[in-house]
């Protein structure tokens, strides 16, 4: 007995001492592998907001899969959760210290701008993905989907579904406590698509709560609520429940992303209500929701393209190639958007959920 307990104690000690060493050893071997061929591998850091949102997970996985092809040594990092500026700042500093050539980042907020500047001063090429930072010239270039356009598409489509009937709208946004561009661009884009006049185009919730929408023949509208859902199912459900409590006659729900839409749908089901739900992202799970009729339409974006194109661009710049430039009329490089719906409407270009499922991201 005594020997066993001693042995186990020794084991604890050994584990402690060697945790770092073991992890070190594992990685070291993979280092030497990648350094094998003639051209030196380019170090790139991919820094997302978190590592749980399927959007970012898809981005990470897509980039990893493409890394070897471009002879890139990719390191994935992220904040611990939405709002963790410090986590991203730390990851940026780590990349600088590691000697990476470039950073792909979905900036959390303006709080990371100073760190991005530090990276660029140190000679790293920084590409923002998905969300352009504020101001946009904080980074070298942004690879993004046009969130405004994505919002407009579902707005236009939603108006055709209302077809002149009064629209009672719930807006399920991202945050209540901070302002990020993806949040207002999708929300305000949706309203613009419906033909509802927005007040400050960079501010959610300051539009008139009642009035007329002009798209697809037009009609009366009522905005019941702007609720923050934090981009997740549980938040979506809670937010929708609050909105239904205010007004049970909601017939149109805008959701920031598909997890929010799934949560909103659960709340509607529980309350025994139906409404047209529109969303943005176009992840495979989201497209499936369109097939199932849960989501009426979603604007599909291509995060894998962002990450892989961004990585290619950095590799190219690092090897002396030319730098990418923004698309005409935009302050970022657009990686595209398409409306996915099985109820195609006149005047709104769309693809079916079957088509969408072939080019979707995530699982």
């Amino acid at each position: 007995m005594r020997t066993t307990s001693r042995a186990s104690r020794a084991l604890v000690c050994a584990v402690a001492a060697s945790t770092a060493l073991t992890l070190a050893a594992c990685n070291r071997s993979s280092d030497s592998e990648s350094g094998g061929d003639g051209e030196a591998a380019v170090g790139v850091a991919l820094i997302t907001k978190d590592s749980t949102n399927p959007f970012f997970v898809a981005m990470q996985e897509g980039a990893k899969a493409d890394a070897t092809k471009n002879n890139v040594k990719l390191t994935v990092a992220s904040g611990k959760q939405e709002g963790d500026d410090q986590g991203q700042i730390t990851a940026i500093e780590d990349a600088i210290a590691r000697g990476d050539k470039g950073i792909l980042i979905t900036p959390m907020s303006t709080g990371v701008n100073a760190a991005i500047k530090k990276a660029r001063d140190a000679g790293l090429y920084v590409i923002a993905l998905d969300t352009p930072p504020d101001p946009a010239d904080t980074v070298d270039i942004t690879f993004a989907t046009d969130n405004r356009e994505a919002g407009k598409l579902i707005g236009q489509w939603a108006a055709t579904q209302m077809a002149g009937k009064p629209a009672t709208i719930a807006l399920l946004d991202l945050f209540a406590d901070k302002i990020v561009s993806v949040d207002y661009n999708r929300d305000q884009g949706f309203l613009e698509g419906m033909g509802i006049p927005v007040n400050d185009p960079k501010k959610n919730g300051d539009e008139a709560k009642t009035g007329k929408y002009s798209a697809a023949g037009g009609g009366d509208y009522t905005i019941v609520c702007n609720e923050a859902a934090n981009g997740a199912e549980d938040g979506g459900r809670t937010a929708m429940e609050k909105c239904l409590a205010k007004n049970p006659n909601i017939n149109l729900v805008y959701t920031l992303n598909e997890p929010t839409a799934v949560g909103a749908n659960a709340a509607l089901k529980a309350a025994n209500k139906t409404a047209v739900i529109v969303s943005v992202d176009g992840g495979c799970a989201g497209v499936k929701s369109v097939t199932d009729g849960v989501i009426g339409a979603t604007s599909q974006q291509y995060p894998l393209k962002m990450a892989t194109q961004g990585m290619e661009a950095i590799a190219k710049v690092a090897r002396g190639g030319e730098k990418p430039t923004p698309d005409a009329g935009l302050d970022f490089k657009n990686t595209g958007v398409a409306l996915v719906t099985d109820k195609a409407a006149d005047g709104v270009e769309s693809i079916t959920s079957e088509e969408g499922s072939k080019i979707c991201w995530g699982n």
Partner: protein, 340 residues
């Protein structure tokens, strides 16, 4: 005669100890040795593993990354030494930071005044925690769970949820982000402040009567009271001093982040508790050293930073931190089992 017998017996007992037991005994006397050992092991490991780890530049960055949590962990250590816990650390820091930044930017207040008001507010927040713990006799966990939400909400309401960039702030508020370099090794004034906080509080804890009272109150509050220690006053002071430390951390954070953001360091409470626990301070109070906390904070950040330099992905780093906490506490438990 009897003296001879006992000391002979003690000598006999000493000879009976195995080498491992002797190590255990030494570690028991200096509980911060085992985290220090872990830290050194991590340094050696990462030095072997990656060329970018043990460079002057990297070491400067490592210290900067550790600074905030290390500062917060001072307050957390004080409170945990009294057998309490503070979940509102980050909330107090962020509240203080947003108030400093907003006063300076929107109200055009001079930097020094904004700074003093912000720090004073943090002191007040700590004092409020202390009042609730000592006067209404609520458990610290509950008190700070409540004030965590309250202070977070006030910070968001007050700041309107938007962040304030460094260029809108007076130089004094950003000052701790500036620093000096010894070659590539860059030290910010924020790091200097953290080191000063540690030096002062380590002195207070080990060299003054108040420091002893902190340990006494944490170990056995009733015995402390019967021995003439003003337990409630000591507790109240501990929470208030912790508030002061959080206020200074707020100042450091503005300089480090280059902005004041209401969502900064969302899990500051867990990070600071992790540093304290790894540093060998008992969650049951009365036992622990501040130097251990500093080492604990450094270990966590070293592991994170070292793994990142090796190109290990984030998810694995989180996993490694989890293992580290359990290993560190397991060693600590083993040390504490030593028999007299």
């Amino acid at each position: 005669m009897s003296t001879d017998v006992t000391s002979a017996a003690a000598e006999f007992a000493r000879r009976q100890q195995s080498p491992l037991q002797r190590v255990q005994h030494q570690l028991h006397r200096r509980p911060w040795l085992s985290p220090l050992f872990l830290l050194v092991a991590a340094f050696i490991g990462f030095f072997i593993a990656t060329p970018t780890f043990l460079t002057p530049n990297s070491m400067g960055i490592l210290l900067q990354q550790t600074a905030i949590v290390a500062a917060l962990a001072v307050g957390q250590t004080l409170i945990i030494l009294t057998a309490g816990i503070d979940l509102s650390v980050g909330a107090i820091m962020v509240l203080s930071m947003m108030v400093m930044a907003t006063l300076a930017k929107d109200d055009g207040m001079p930097g020094i005044l904004a700074l003093l008001i912000g720090v004073a507010l943090a002191v007040g927040a700590g004092f409020l925690n202390g009042l609730l713990v000592t006067r209404i006799n609520l458990p610290p966990f509950i008190v700070t769970l409540g004030t965590l939400s309250i202070f977070t909400a006030i910070a968001l309401l007050y700041s309107g949820g938007s962040s304030i960039q460094a260029e809108h702030l007076p130089r004094l508020l950003n000052f701790l982000g500036e620093g000096f370099g010894i070659g590539e090794f860059r030290i910010t004034w924020g790091i200097v402040v953290v080191i000063l906080i540690y030096a002062v509080m380590a002195y207070v804890l080990s060299q003054t009567a108040w420091g002893r009272y902190v340990y006494a109150v944490g170990d056995d509050p009733e015995s402390a009271r019967l021995s003439g220690v003003p337990s409630k006053r000591v507790l109240l002071a501990v929470y208030t001093v912790a508030g002061l430390v959080y206020g200074l951390a707020a100042w450091i954070l503005i300089g480090r982040a280059g902005a004041a953001t209401p969502n900064a360091v969302p899990d500051a409470n867990l990070q600071s508790i992790t540093a304290v626990v790894i540093g060998g301070t008992s969650l049951f109070g009365g036992r622990g050293r501040l130097i251990g906390t500093l080492i604990g904070a450094l270990i966590v950040q070293t592991l994170q930073f070292g793994l990142s330099q090796m190109g290990v992905d984030q998810q694995w780093r989180v996993l490694a931190t989890g293992i580290l906490v359990i290993v560190a506490v397991a060693i600590d438990q083993w040390i504490r089992k030593v028999k007299s």
